[in-house]
Every structure is written in C-alpha cells, then in structure tokens.
C-alpha cells in the first residue's frame, strides 16, 4: 500500500476515536413477528389484516418501542407499542382534504405565522386511548369519545431563507401541541 494512503488511513482511524464518544444512540430495525411482545402481536392478529404487516423495533437511550406498519382500506396504518407490548397510539395517513374546514383553517393560520412559504408533505390522524377503545375503533369503526385524536403534519417550511422539514402536532380543534424539526441523516456518502 502506498505510504500516503497508509498515513491518511491512520489519521482517519485516529479521528474516529473521538467520534464514538459523540454518537447519539437511536436505532430502528426491521424485526420478525416472533421478536415482538405477544401482547402487541395478538392485538395486530385480532385485526385480521389481509396485507403484509411489517414490524419494527425502535431503540433509544431511554426507551424501546415496537411499531407495526400495514395498509388497510387503501390507507397506511402505523400502530406503536411500548416495550411490554401495550398499545401507545394508532396513526393513519390521511388526506388534508379529509380534515374539518375549521381544523384546516387553524392549521393554515399557524403555518402562515411560522413560515414564509410552506408545503404539506404528509398528514396523519393519531389516536390514543385504552386498548379496548382503540380495538373497537379499528375493528368496528366505533369511536369512543374517550379516544384522543390529534393530527400530525410533516411540513416543508421556510421560516426565512432556508427551508426545513418540521413535524407539527395539532389537537382536534387545531390548537398547536408541539413542533419539532426533522433532522436529516448525513448524506455525504451519496453526494461525493
């Protein structure tokens, strides 16, 4: 191996010593149904979904959760469970036009305040509640009033000069609950 190449590799490995200390641990991995807590798997099985269900495990420094993703009635569903298999929420991708006019108006008012320009990339309806209530909602289309409905929107927003991607969470009245910026993963290996 050429001396120059060898020296550069030595420098590279020397630099990476500090990189391991800086790394933030967040990981999402595809898993088999057998690796999912029984409670979560049984919940999904009871829905009798015809399409393929993909299971994912999400790990951070503080928590582990499991997510089932599938299509049902031409909509994309995502059901999240905690480490014990207890259901956390149900998210269903929806169209902006399916939102109530008053809700849409509140959403646009907030976005017009925050952004010079914006475009709505994705809209999800988020349901949280007890397991039995969520199961009734999914299987019999019965929406118990105790179920909380929020709306999660992915927005491309240009506050000033530079556009960013943000996740907005609104309640069912259009009141803003939270905003967080979506950070893109490093792509220099795709660019150079």
């Amino acid at each position: 191996m050429n001396k120059l190449t060898f020296i550069l590799l030595l420098i590279a490995f020397g630099l990476t010593g500090s990189l391991f200390a800086q790394a933030k641990f967040e990981k999402e991995s595809r898993i088999k149904p057998g690796q999912v807590p029984d409670k979560a798997r049984l919940f999904i099985d009871s829905l009798k979904i015809q399409s393929k269900v993909k299971w994912y495990k999400e790990e951070s420094l503080t928590a582990t959760s499991f997510e089932a993703k599938f299509s049902l009635n031409q909509a994309r569903y995502s059901i999240e469970f905690d480490a014990g298999g207890n259901i956390e929420d149900v998210e269903i991708e929806t169209d902006l036009n399916e939102l109530q006019p008053e809700l849409k108006e509140s959403v646009y008012l907030q976005l017009n305040t925050d952004c010079k320009k914006f475009s709505i990339v994705k809209v999800q309806r988020q349901y949280t509640g007890s397991e039995s209530d969520l199961l009734s909602g999914l299987t019999m289309n019965i929406l118990n009033p105790s179920i909380t409905i929020n709306y999660e929107l992915i927005i491309k927003c240009s506050p000033e000069k530079q556009a960013g991607l943000f996740e907005y969470l609104f309640d069912d009245k259009g009141k803003l609950i939270s905003v967080s910026e979506i950070v893109f993963k490093n792509s220099s290996h795709l660019e150079y």
Binding site: S29, F184, N186, L190
Partner: protein, 230 residues
Amino acid sequence: MNTKALLFIILVVLMQGKSAVFAQATYRFGIMPSLNLNSALKNNWSLNAKAESRQLFKSGTVNGDAVNEYRYVLTDLSLIAAKKVGLNSRIAGGYLMRIEDGEISHRFIQHFIIVQKFAAFRLAHRFMSDQTFSESEKPEIRVRYRISSELPLNGESVDPGEFYVKVSNEYINSFQAKDYDLEIRLVPLLGYDITDNFKIETGPDYRLNSFISSSPRHSYWMTLNIFIEI
C-alpha cells in the same frame, strides 16, 4: 418501483458492456481506496476533502495477453466547498489535483446534488461538470450525471451499526479537442454505518469507456471508501 428502475438501469449497462466485449476490448483490475472528510460550516456551507488512489494489479486484452504487474497509477486530492440551496439540494465547486506518472494535472469541479428520501431508501442525483488541464494533454471538459441509491438492509433507514447497499450509475460525456467519449460506471457497494459520522463502503467499481469510436476498455476497481464527518 424505484428498485425496478435501478435494476433496469443495471441491465442496460450490462447489455452495453456485453456488446462492447465483442470488439477488441482491453481491461484492467486494481484497487481504489479513498478517504472523504466532510465538515459542516456556518450558514449551510460545508467542505469536503478527499484523497483517492488507484493501484493496478492486472491489465490486458480480452481473449488476449495479460500483464500481471503491480503499478501505482495515480493519487487524487480534492477540496470541494458546497452550499445548501434547498431542503435536499446543494451546489458545490472545487479543485482536484491528480498526480500521475510524475505529472500533475488540475481539475476544476462544479456540481449540483438533490437527495430524495423515500419510505425505505434514499436516492441522490448528481449533475456535474469538470475541466481538466495538464501539460501533456489537451484540456478535457466532462459533463456527468450520476444516480445513487442507499438501501438500508435493516429497517427503513440506515442507523449506526447497520449495513446498507449503495448502488451508483454514472454517465460521463468527455470532450477533448475534437474527440468525444462516453464513460459508463456502475458501482454496487456494501456499506456499514459505524456511526452517523463514520461510514465504510466496499465493492466493485466497473467502468466502461472508449467503446464508441475505438476499442472498449473495461476497468474493474475494488473500492474501499471511508466517509468521516468532522
């Protein structure tokens, strides 16, 4: 759908290679290690420094004689400054110095990149031009397009400690004096994300050129790419 499109592109490239083989073709095998250091700066600027070498082990004529002899071919050192101009896009410009056979050639690079994020993979489109000057050769201008895809092998995105596949296909139009050549590259790599700031990739880099008006040349380089964000 996009996986099918990529497979179609690979098939098109392989068919071109196959038809080129029937002319008097030449080939060469070697390694091409590279080190990329990328650094984010203020105001959406970033800097990329790259060092790459090529080392040849074997060359010859298809169905003819082969020369098994090690030769250090060249070293490329480049520095590129890039500016984010959109949510997923960047323009960049820079300089590359090539040291080959004791001679230095100078290349000026400009490119525009768009990275698309899909549900289970990412796609990058790079539009690039470069101009190369040296004492022994006439100036060369190249206009290039490359499509690269990053396919996680676990989950919907590449996380630390996970493998991924990166497939790139590039078309390079070369104009030198009155000569024109088209080079096609196909690079399927296996990558490992050690951390978000440190990736290693390896795999073959196949290049086909000189097939339009003369004997096609096939180059097979085994790559080892290291990407570090500092």
